[in-house]
Symmetry: C2
Subunit: 319 residues, 2 copies
């Protein structure tokens, strides 16, 4: 988000955006009629549907100038990168393999389309997810809306947000807060370094998500709106609480950056067998996960150390 100001909300109840998503789920669900068994629709990182025996994983995400990118300090190519990367990250958080992307560009007059599309194209190469179609429209601000279609290797189900149980270990794939710290550096006039890179060109942890699915992760979500908010969402969906012992803060970032900055796109993973998960990640040549703590049965318990963990993060002021 362009202005990562952690906004604490009541610790146990979702705020505007999550309420609006709940409302949309009702409206669309009522219209759609019964959902086929095995399908997963609105409410997780991505949807899972069955196309005559082939499971598809579908997600969409938008990057809007002034909301998701401050074009005073980052380029249109960075905005394009972020649009596609945020969408494939949603597939990664289900353990799926992104395959195809559709991109809609909303363009004010005289937008540098080559630069914007170039950033999308770079991300499509990085994540092996070609752009196979799209749409162009005029708009008052630059909008990049990306939809992605992915597949699931083998017969295992996708990893949702909803499968964690009390006793599961919670890990995260990497340190947090680098993107928010990088934005601060950019605004201070610093134009390179690892924090700036983390803000301009965040990664998607696709390989880690696929390994976690193969290693029987019970629940997973990517850190897009803020670690704390996204962890609360996983706990809400699973009906569990959590007790965190520690938090991996990126070098140069603050604890607030790590808790509420968002757009790190690291994966929060719940697992009943953390040793097996660590071994599988190591076998794939991926970094060791950071152990955060554990899930507990009581959904009202949401702690970091001795303190309650507020829902810090970005929620669009909707509804």
């Amino acid at each position: 988000v362009a202005s990562p100001k952690p906004r604490p909300a009541a610790s146990s109840s979702p705020a505007g955006e999550d309420r609006a998503i709940g409302r949309l789920t009702q409206i669309m669900g009522r219209a759609a009629g019964p959902r086929p068994a095995g399908d997963l629709w609105i409410g997780d990182d991505a949807a899972v549907v069955d196309a005559a025996g082939q499971r598809l994983v579908l997600a969409t995400d938008a990057a809007v100038a002034g909301v998701h990118a401050d074009l005073a300090v980052v380029g249109l190519d960075d905005l394009g990168w972020k649009g596609l990367t945020a969408a494939v990250s949603d597939l990664g958080a289900m353990g799926a393999v992104p395959r195809w992307a559709l991109v809609t560009f909303g363009l004010p007059p005289r937008t540098d389309l080559d630069r914007l599309a170039g950033g999308v194209a770079e991300a499509s190469v990085a994540w092996a997810c070609p752009v196979v179609g799209g749409d162009l429209t005029t708009a008052d601000q630059v909008v990049v809306s990306v939809s992605v279609v992915g597949l699931l290797d083998g017969p295992r189900p996708a990893v949702t947000r909803a499968g964690a149980v009390g006793g599961d270990t919670l890990v995260v794939t990497g340190p947090l807060g680098a993107s928010a710290a990088g934005l601060r550096w950019l605004r201070a006039g610093v134009s390179d370094g690892p924090l700036v890179s983390a803000h301009r060109r965040p990664p998607a942890r696709l390989a880690a998500g696929q390994v976690a699915r193969a290693a029987d992760a019970t629940a997973m979500i990517d850190v897009s709106d803020g670690f704390s908010l996204d962890l609360h969402r996983l706990a809400d969906a699973s009906g569990v609480g959590f007790v965190l012992d520690d938090l991996p803060v990126a070098e140069g970032a603050t604890t607030d950056d790590a808790l509420g900055g968002g757009e790190d796109y690291e994966l929060i993973i719940a697992t009943g067998d953390p040793d097996a998960l660590a071994a599988a990640l190591a076998a794939a040549g991926l970094p060791a996960p950071f152990v955060l703590g554990r899930c507990v049965d009581d959904p009202a318990v949401r702690r970091l150390g001795r303190d309650d963990l507020p829902r810090l993060g970005w929620e669009h002021p909707i509804g």
Copy 2:
């Protein structure tokens, strides 16, 4: 489009938007590497990809307040309807069956999300294409970006814009210009009637597209940006010219409405066997198609009666 002013461009060369799409095709194509045989990527109404033996047809379309809908005279529900309908119409124009939709809403503060989403939901019922996922973001103007995934019944290929040959008959599934005329009525204070309905709730000719594919149509496109412009696009893609004898103008619409108004979502179909197509449509209980004329070998010939047919229609002023 909110202001359907037919804008003539040079009769034989694409203007801003089509040039920008050509540029995007280059940028994305270079990034994507080789396309699998049988796949169809950017450049047609929709993309066709192979998901482990299951062909998927993918399209995306956006409806933007002030560009695609004049909210002074139509409702947010109408904008939502149009967003989903335009996207499924792109699948219909390939002969595909829409199955799932993803919707991104860009929302200024205090937007009536229930009404906007309600229009999307109504269209999802009408076209049997449930919304299975989405995204919400703040934005300066209302944006509804819809991506749809469809399937192809049976082994036939999708019907592209590119298969017409000289001698093929050109037909259209219904009269043209009703949407543009309806907008004029709405602006004059008339709030109902068939023209107004055609503007607020345009149909998607899904059944006709599927029948045309089964009846060996050689090329097809839906009338979104303007009959004339869209017909030129079909002729460009096929490398043919055309001679039209007549044009079906909707009752109450003008010839300019019919030629350049756009958003009628009728299908222009090329066929080597117009009798078989008419019979197949009749057997499916669909209206008889209107015979426009025929394709000719010389791609420079683009005539309506004795006159050259200009590229009338809406092109976003891009690039």
